[in-house]
Symmetry: C2
Subunit: 320 residues, 2 copies
DNA sequence: TTGTAGGCGTTATCAA
DNA sequence: TTGATAACGCCTACAA
């Protein structure tokens, strides 16, 4: 593998001159530049970027932590991240955790070892404390509605979004209302739970523990959710499902069982995936690609810790 | 940032000893090991991996070229790649091309500059010639049914898979058959087109140019596909749609327009996404996660160029 | 079992 | 406008 030194020899200049040519620095005479360029061409030279990384102390790589790659929610965020990252000359390293803490730590270690210039955490496993520990090695951006002030974050106001969805359900006259979350213990979920409890209290509605469902991510989970719901003696009449894929799975399964939405049970989803549009699912639209874009923006300006909130929109369709 | 030298000083040993400890080499006395470990702890040391990369000439990073991140087909493949790559100590850098050639070249350049140890191309843009050019810089694995012998590949036998799907449609008694592809010019598409033409000839069936549709990737494309189909005077009675998302979009739109599948038009999809299962779409199941796994296996053994083919399964359900 | 020294390929500083 | 040379931080013969 030919290196800068060989080019220098071949072109009859010093390595510094070659480096200058490679980096488009000024102060290189046209003749020398030309001979360097020729040498590069002749010897089929290309830079070893690891040497540059070492020398510069950065890699132009951002780590992205997500639980699944094959999920529309994270797919959309990653799409947004990738686009903006590319725009500022960065590339993305995907860490698919499947909610294993170890995978997240791997990413953090790579930040520490300078293989990554920063990390965007789309869904967190470790405690805040851990992330804060690693922050000294590079910017860590959180895509979650965090109250912590020490880490920049970008998120939807999940409390408000869920509240307004629930208010809508209540306004429609439903009294027996259930809801379905991803991981119960996640930040988003706890905000949603708080919103649920607050609103239910406000209207003096029954808040049954069994009407909180968990583990909804994928379309197949919706099938299970329907079965759980269907096997209940006392069923909620409306369910807020915090992800459209699961909502779609629920509705399609219900149809198979000869049940109609919203006649037999009303459904309100989240995310506004194209699938929800196809199925006319009433849902809360979240600007996922913008989350991605903003996360990169926050990464770019690590000096100022900011907590950005993005807006949501209730898409009124036909399932409630 | 503390480095190996400082640790050596602090621990009263040489840098080599520190290096040996870091790499779990034998031949380090317990006492020295201990003092090194202490120094590491005291000084809060962590390795700069870029130096290791430079020194070793590799990064344990594999580039993955895909058109979209938010698509179940590629999501599933990436899932498989990620899993297997992690198992052998590699991480994944995603290149989302959206079919822009430039993005693909970026990845190839990173291979050339040694930021990547290899590349897995899930959907190709550049000509084979270009990829072959870059092969000297590291293994390039192609997830496509390629005839070329110079590059390892992993794929489904798309000719056979499409043929068997079409044979099934014919056997069901359909004579007016259309099909829908992603990019007409892709390798997969050309194999499918060849299969279509061959089978249609074999049975002396009408092969109308207008019944070849293009640009089907996402669920929304299915909506458009339905509209295109619906606006035809002479409609095909069955359509093979080479991706379940689009098939689902087609069917759901058809239902909105009061049409029934398969009564008004029969549909056969590809991929066996969970959505197709939910909707009872007859589809060709492709082992996408295995493609990912095998791609990494091929990357691991770059010495032998191999062309692996994986099996498909026709999932007989209710849309034809 | 340990240490010395050279190499990995660039960039950056400083002097010329 | 150029060139030496010292970083950057680690690995690995080779010698001891």
């Amino acid at each position: 593998m030919t290196n800068i030194k060989e080019i220098a020899q071949y072109a009859g200049v010093s390595v510094s001159t070659v480096s200058r040519v490679m980096n488009n620095h000024p102060y290189v005479s046209p003749e020398k530049r030309k001979s360097v360029l020729q040498a590069i061409d002749q010897l089929n030279y290309s830079r070893n970027i690891n040497a540059i990384h070492l020398s510069k102390g950065k890699t132009n790589l951002i780590g992205v932590i997500i639980p699944f790659t094959n999920h529309p929610y994270y797919g959309a965020i990653v799409q947004g991240i990738t686009k903006q990252a590319n725009a500022i000359g960065y590339h993305i390293v995907i860490f698919q955790t499947q909610y294993e803490r170890e995978k997240e730590i791997q990413a953090l270690n790579m930040l520490q070892m300078k293989q990554l210039d920063g990390i965007i955490v789309c869904s967190r496993i470790s405690e805040m404390k851990v992330l804060l520990d690693y922050q000294k090695y590079g910017p860590i951006i959180l895509c979650e509605d965090t109250a912590q002030a020490e880490l920049s974050s970008i998120s939807i106001d999940h409390y408000a979004a869920f509240s307004s969805a629930l208010e809508y359900v209540v306004a429609k006259g439903y009294k027996k209302i259930g809801y379905s979350l991803g991981r119960k213990k996640s930040r988003n979920s706890s905000l949603r739970t708080k919103a649920f409890n607050d609103i239910m209290n406000k209207y003096h509605l029954l808040n049954k523990k069994e009407w909180l469902f968990e583990g909804s991510y994928h379309i197949k989970d919706g099938e299970k959710l329907f079965q759980d719901w269907n096997s209940m003696i006392d069923k909620p009449e409306a369910i807020i499902i915090t992800n459209d894929d699961t909502a779609a799975g629920f509705i399609l399964t219900a149809n198979k069982f000869g049940m109609k939405v919203p006649e037999d049970v009303a459904i309100l989803g989240f995310n506004n995936d194209s699938l929800s549009e196809m199925l006319d699912i009433t849902t809360v639209s979240l600007p996922l690609d913008w989350i991605g874009k903003m996360a990169v923006d926050l990464f770019e300006n690590p000096k100022v810790i900011r907590h950005v909130k993005l807006d949501y929109t209730l898409m009124k369709r036909k399932t409630i």
